[in-house]
């Protein structure tokens, strides 16, 4: 094994890890606001990629991406308003089944709209053969786009949740909904907003990664499981930790490809999920005490 190949695998791992981290952040936003794991999170990623590809046929790439993200946000809001908003303290089991139902529904709708074809956006800069070389390591510019946009998302979210009124209101709702409502915060709107935010982030991720990973009507489920693994690995609800956990999982996966057949890549990462759930459900970076207080 030479260093060059190893670093190439590392780059691939970092790319995929970042993608998983973005999906995990989508999970975390909704989880923080509602205590719900949205099993349909992967579908937002798929929708973002699919809509952008369709729009790109008649508008320039940046406009298509912006429009796709907006469309996904509207869909996210609609999903929350139609299915979630009016339920009064539903049980966890009920919420799990509803979000799974939504994910099937969205996926099947996508199948009827777009068919089974595999699609992809063009590379944002250059093409699939363009590489930027750092010494012996060659990186596709799209990888820089993915990691760059992930970094911007995390930075903006941190700013949003810590320094804006709206973000603080959302955090207040997640830590104590009744107290937040007494302070005049509309908790229901905050939940809708969390769906809008995570749908938008998911869709943006879907656009950025589609040149590398391609999108298909059923690519959401796989991403959702990886995203969830990362969210758990980092500690549910903690978005900064999700980035670290995403990188760990991505690198682990791509190192596994060196020793195992590629088809078993997913088996490895799901085994990591099971292992984490069994051994330390609060995640690597999460606190055990805090997770004991959460309701699952």
């Amino acid at each position: 094994m030479n260093i060059e190949l190893l670093s190439q695998y590392l780059v691939a791992g970092i790319t995929y890890g970042t993608i998983y981290a973005i999906v995990a952040i989508g999970f975390n936003i909704i989880y923080n606001a509602t205590g719900i794991i949205n099993f349909a999170q992967g579908e937002f990623v798929m929708l973002g990629g699919m809509i952008a590809v369709s729009l790109h046929t008649f508008m320039p790439l940046p406009a298509a991406i912006v429009a796709a993200v907006l469309a996904a946000m509207i869909i996210g809001a609609l999903i929350e308003i139609i299915f979630i908003r009016w339920l009064v303290s539903p049980s966890v089991l009920r919420m799990i089944i509803i979000t799974i139902g939504i994910s099937i529904f969205v996926r099947e709708a996508a199948l009827h709209v777009w068919g089974e074809a595999v699609r992809a956006l063009p590379y944002f800069t250059g093409s699939e053969v363009t590489v930027i070389s750092f010494g012996n390591v060659h990186i596709s510019p799209q990888v820089l786009w993915v990691t760059g946009i992930a970094a911007i998302i995390v930075a903006l979210l941190t700013f949003f949740f810590n320094y804006t009124l709206l973000g603080r209101q959302m955090r207040a709702c997640s830590s104590n909904r009744d107290a937040a409502r007494l302070c005049g915060i509309n908790a229901k709107n905050m939940v809708t907003l969390s769906f809008v935010l995570s749908a938008g982030i998911g869709a943006l991720a879907g656009c950025v990664v589609s040149p590398i990973t391609y999108v298909q009507y059923d690519s959401g489920t796989g991403l959702a499981i990886k995203g969830f693994t990362v969210a758990i690995l980092g500690g549910l609800g903690n978005s900064t930790a999700a980035i670290g956990a995403g990188l760990i999982l991505g690198i682990l996966e791509s190192l596994c490809v060196m020793v195992l057949p590629t088809a078993f890549k997913d088996v490895v990462s799901i085994s990591v999920l099971l292992l984490i759930l069994f051994v330390r459900p609060s995640g690597i970076f999460g606190s055990v005490e805090a997770s004991r207080l959460k309701e699952f």
Binding site: G101, F105, E108, P281
Partner: protein, 360 residues
């Protein structure tokens, strides 16, 4: 009490027989194929209903157990052991008559495991896997439990999809029939249609008998107490962990047996049987039947599986189940066929005397 417990089983048996007679009289015998397959899927559903409805533990990985049963049996009954004739285990098996030998298309000798042994092996493997993963998985609750079982199902799916042993994406085919008893064979031969219909639904009837007995026993009461308040059940001295694990294994065995029989009936199995969508479908049917309602789940499983297998939903097949899930969970989380409806009926049927007694 006794009457009210066995009455549904009697009605069920009458219904099964009359459906068969009806298809015979109306010359629609081809329906029996889908009805037989429906029977096996119903076996998974009643097992899962025990787990979700009565013990309150969700599993999104039951298609995984179904596939483990089906694949183990399919593999053992098709893998040619003739080249390994000299190895100790193979020769012992062959001497005890547990291997069937036959000639393949080109006159070469093949030796495969007897379906009975394969079936027992399949169940044994399932029990082993269910115990190993059940222990840690059932410590989890809610979202974590759902995701863990979903993860387990996905692992099984990916493994069978990627293993050339198991035929990868094509699955295994040319699986021989399963001669359960002399004169009774589980296989898709057109002449055995009626027989197979009764084998499948006979198994379901047996399963229902077993499960209704279980529900009406000490174990059933313990399970219901776990569902409504696990901590309280624990405080009452119920070993909740053990009960949950046993019921998990039991429902996995139901799924695996269904897998074994359906595989022999169809003569093949493919990775789609292990897919997440199948697992979700089982949960959907349990949900629509009413979580803690074996008969409701069975009835809904019968209708929906049959319609789906007959292709009435066309390309909207999966979407239908997604929509059903959403609608049921939004508007009738207790299921369509609720217990109260049944109990009301039961009361009317069993007369005023027992209705006044209020023993149930």
């Amino acid at each position: 009490m006794l009457r009210s417990k066995f009455l549904p089983i009697i009605i069920f048996v009458i219904a099964i027989v009359s459906v068969q007679v009806l298809t015979g009289l109306t010359d629609k015998a081809q329906y029996l194929t889908q009805l037989t397959m429906t029977g096996y899927y119903s076996l998974v559903i009643i097992g899962l209903c025990m787990l979700i409805g009565y013990a309150g533990q969700i599993s999104l990985g039951h298609a995984g157990f179904f596939a483990i049963g089906g694949y183990v049996s399919a593999f053992l009954t098709t893998y040619n052991l003739a080249p390994h004739k000299e190895k100790p285990l193979v020769s012992v098996l062959s001497k005890t008559g547990l291997l069937g030998s036959m000639q393949d298309l080109y006159g070469g000798d093949t030796m495969v495991v007897n379906p009975w042994l394969a079936c027992i092996a399949a169940v044994a493997v399932t029990v082993l896997i269910a115990y190993i993963i059940g222990g840690p998985i059932l410590k989890l609750k809610g979202h974590y439990l759902a995701m863990a079982t979903l993860g387990f199902g996905t692992i099984v799916y990916k493994v069978v999809l990627a293993t050339s042993f198991f035929g990868a994406a094509d699955g295994l085919s040319d699986i021989p029939g399963f001669k359960v008893l002399p004169g009774l064979e589980v296989s898709g031969k057109p002449g055995l249609r009626v027989q197979n219909y009764y084998i499948a639904w006979g198994l379901v009837a047996l399963g229902m008998l077993l499960l209704t007995n279980l529900i009406h026993s000490r174990v059933g009461r313990a399970l219901r107490s776990i569902h409504s308040a696990e901590d309280a059940a624990n405080a009452m001295g119920i070993n909740t962990g053990r009960y949950k694990l046993n019921i998990f294994v039991l429902s996995a065995v139901f799924a695996a047996l269904a897998g074994v029989f359906l595989t022999h009936y169809n003569g093949g199995i493919g990775p789609s049987e292990a897919s997440i969508m199948k697992s979700v479908r089982y949960v959907a049917i349990v949900a629509i039947g009413g979580m803690a309602n074996l008969w409701g789940a069975l009835a809904m499983g019968f209708v929906l599986n049959f319609l789906s297998l007959r292709g009435y939903f066309g390309s909207y097949d999966d979407a239908i189940f997604g929509v059903i899930l959403i609608l049921i969970m939004l508007f009738a989380p207790e299921g369509l066929l609720r217990r109260e409806v049944f109990q009301g009926l039961k009361k009317r049927l069993s007369g005023k005397k027992s209705a006044g007694g209020q023993q149930a």
